[in-house]
């Protein structure tokens, strides 16, 4: 078993006791909730006549079902309206802070937590959402839970968990121009597979990870679950502290910040830490990466040929055959040049300010291709406002993109933002599962925001480095 890692330190600090099953009871430092996975848990509490044990450690937002165009209440979609109304009622009864759209703080749950400084290094963070690993970018131990576990956290402030093994993913070298955190995590998942991380927590490190900005680290940690790892993290460092210093939580409290930083520093993995496994990835070898199939592990560099199913390991062949038939891709051909119908810039993976800036640089002075509809959905109301202060909304609008309100949107199509028929979507989101974007025949190609921008203007999957302006924004 691992020793001396951040994971070990955070686990030990939060462990209340060993349970008869062999699992540990862990204290939860931050419980984030949203409208899709929480109403049933509130219902169970009521049935059992229980209350929320730590409402002050619980924080709500609405993201999955909110419309991103017309937000006038009641929402046009009755089901969405009833979910919103139920959340409003539940949080009011329970005394839980809610980043309602009226507050200006609403957004995707994994964008608003880090944005406000709710997420801290060395904290346990849970949410009824598999992309909770995003918060691991801060050196938090963050993982997704199901609704029955939400009930447990509501009722007790704790969760029953088994300790996992730790795999260090050491990323050497540096990412080239036009190559981003998204390309890195798609490459990692492609190497290790969709279930390579089952039983593991991923510690991402090495020079190419340390040089990433916080949004870049969040992109990497966000997709840990797509590789089977329930949690992933990056050790906190000066980049982390600089981000936190400017959040609501700390901007007016330098003393608290200084005190807290001592804890943050103390939980970093030691130089002599032992890991259950170490994998090395060479950042220099990564090119802009896209998916060609229907799992996030079915990836290729944009100019590389799509593999023939028979060239893959036996257990991957049937999945690859089905995926290529669904996508309509030809093995042996690269994804570059594959026509797209929709360009979606959004999601908890890639809808933060630097993502939008980088995409806007590609889009500036160009037009969305005639055959493409382009959609920009900022990750939060604050991201949207900040982008508007920089005029990014104008850049996108002038190019022909729709500029929307914050939410999960077309990542999973729970509102009206959906693919139609067998449309192909160049998407900055995290899942290319069949049916994921709202149409059972829809086709999703995962890529970085820059690559989405490039596909939007050319109408096909395009190596962003072949367009003349490569963004120089630090990612």
């Amino acid at each position: 078993m691992s020793e001396g890692t951040l994971y070990d330190a955070v686990w030990d600090r939060h462990r209340v006791r060993r349970l008869p099953s062999g699992q540990d009871q862990l204290f939860v430092g931050l419980h984030l909730i949203h409208e899709v996975t929480s109403p049933q848990a509130f219902g169970m509490l009521e049935e059992r006549d229980l209350e929320i044990a730590y409402p002050e450690r619980t924080h709500a937002t609405v993201d999955h079902i909110v419309p991103t165009d017309d937000r006038e209440r009641p929402y046009d979609d009755d089901a969405a309206e009833s979910m919103m109304a139920k959340l409003e009622e539940n949080v009011a009864d329970a005394g839980v802070t809610f980043d309602h759209p009226d507050t200006g703080r609403q957004g995707i749950v994994h964008v608003i937590g880090p944005e406000q400084g709710l997420t801290e290094p060395g904290m346990t963070v849970v949410c009824g959402d598999s992309h909770t690993a995003t918060h691991g970018a801060f050196g938090a131990l963050a993982f997704g839970i199901g609704t029955s576990q939400i009930r447990d956290v509501f009722a007790t402030g704790t969760v029953a968990m088994e300790k996992q093994a730790v795999r260090r993913i050491e990323v050497t070298g540096e990412l080239g121009d036009g190559v981003t955190a998204k390309d890195l995590i798609l490459t990692i998942i492609g190497e290790l597979g969709t279930d390579g991380g089952v039983g593991y927590v991923y510690e991402y490190g090495g020079p190419a990870v340390e040089s990433l900005s916080m949004p870049g680290r969040m992109t990497v940690c966000n997709m840990s679950i797509e590789g089977g790892a329930r949690a992933g993290y990056v050790n906190p460092d000066e980049t982390t502290y600089e981000w936190l210093r400017e959040t609501d939580a700390f901007e007016d409290s330098p003393e608290t910040f200084a005190e807290r930083k001592r804890y943050w520093e103390s939980i970093r993995s030691g130089d002599d830490a032992t890991y259950d496994d170490v994998v090395t990835i060479d950042a220099d070898a990564i090119e802009p990466t896209v998916t060609w199939g229907t799992t996030p592990a079915q990836t290729a560099g944009v100019s590389e040929p799509v593999p023939a199913p028979e060239a893959l390991p036996p257990e991957d062949r049937a999945v690859a055959e089905r995926a290529q038939a669904h996508m309509g891709v030809e093995s042996g051909e690269p994804m570059a040049g594959f026509p797209v119908d929709v360009a979606f810039l959004g999601s908890c993976t890639n809808a933060r300010l630097p993502d939008l800036r980088a995409a806007a640089e590609i889009v500036a002075g160009r037009e969305v291709h005639d055959d493409v509809r382009g959609l920009v959905v900022p990750g939060s109301q604050r991201v949207k406002a900040a982008a508007e202060r920089e005029g990014l909304d104008e850049t996108f609008r002038e190019a022909g993109f729709e500029w929307r309100e914050a939410g999960c949107s077309m990542c999973l199509g729970m509102n009206d933002d959906q693919l139609e028929g067998d449309e192909v979507c160049a998407s900055s989101s995290n899942r290319n599962f069949v049916g994921r974007q709202g149409s059972a025949d829809g086709r999703t190609i995962l890529m970085s925001p820059e690559m989405v921008a490039a596909a939007a203007v050319t109408g096909e999957v395009t190596d962003v480095r072949e367009l003349d302006a490569t963004p120089e924004v630090a990612r």
Binding site: L19, L50, S148, E162, R322, F433
Partner: protein, 227 residues
């Protein structure tokens, strides 16, 4: 629930616990759903998550795989045309309660709606090559065992169930075996899952709620809980 679970009542305590029967074994018939990496979006598409309870989700299990044409209709209902040969459509498997799957079943989202839909369809146990972690945890929270065996044993079981759907299968959680016809598969159950199911402690709310002072002590020892 269908099937023939051996159940002894756990203490239906007054501190937030409910009756969580011990699940030592599940006996019944099987339904095979073949393929690796079957994700939670396939098990229950996101549009069926726009609900406030889990009731009625059973009919939407694998919905988009079960019909050639699906999607919301103009009246807020669902289009379901041209049924496919998906096993969940096959009346021969209509009473099955043991789902037999391949590798990395349940990958993707944390939606408990996925095992809820399967359980409400009639599934009491899942046997497969491997499972995604959050899915397996969600199954445990509903008292559904997720039992693993090697790919050859799974393929043989799937073949048998397809050929003879009324084959009786016993998933023995305590003994870590799956038996059918004259065969016994050496299976594996995660130790914590096994202990929780066999002891009837898979509904963890009462257990986790039994030591609030100790929880408060841990909370107070953390450097960030002062605000």
């Amino acid at each position: 629930m269908s099937g023939d679970e051996t159940a002894t009542d756990a203490d239906p305590s007054s501190d937030g616990g409910v009756d969580a029967p011990a699940v030592e074994r599940v006996t019944g018939t099987g339904v095979p759903v073949r393929g690796n990496d079957i994700d939670t979006d396939q098990i229950i598409p996101a549009r069926f998550l726009k609900v406030l309870t889990f009731e009625g989700l059973g009919e939407f299990a694998f919905f988009d795989q079960r019909y050639e044409t699906t999607g919301p209709d103009a009246d807020g209902g669902e289009v379901a045309e041209n049924p496919t040969d998906h096993p969940f459509n096959d009346p021969e498997f209509g009473d099955a309660n043991v789902l037999v799957v391949n590798a990395n079943f349940g990958c993707g989202s944390s939606r408990e709606h996925a095992p809820q839909a399967l359980q409400r369809w009639g599934i009491d146990a899942v046997v497969g090559e491997s499972f995604a972690e959050i899915f397996a945890g969600n199954c445990l929270a509903l008292g559904i065992p997720t039992v693993t065996a090697d790919s050859e044993a799974i393929a043989a079981l799937q073949d048998r169930v397809e050929a003879e759907p009324d084959t009786e299968i016993t998933v023995d959680v305590a003994a870590e075996t799956v038996t059918y016809a004259d065969r016994e598969i050496d299976a594996a159950v995660d130790p914590a899952q096994r202990q929780s199911l066999v002891a009837g402690e898979w509904d963890t709310t009462a257990l986790l709620g039994s030591n609030p002072e100790q929880v408060a002590e841990t909370a107070a020892s953390l450097p960030y809980t002062d605000r």
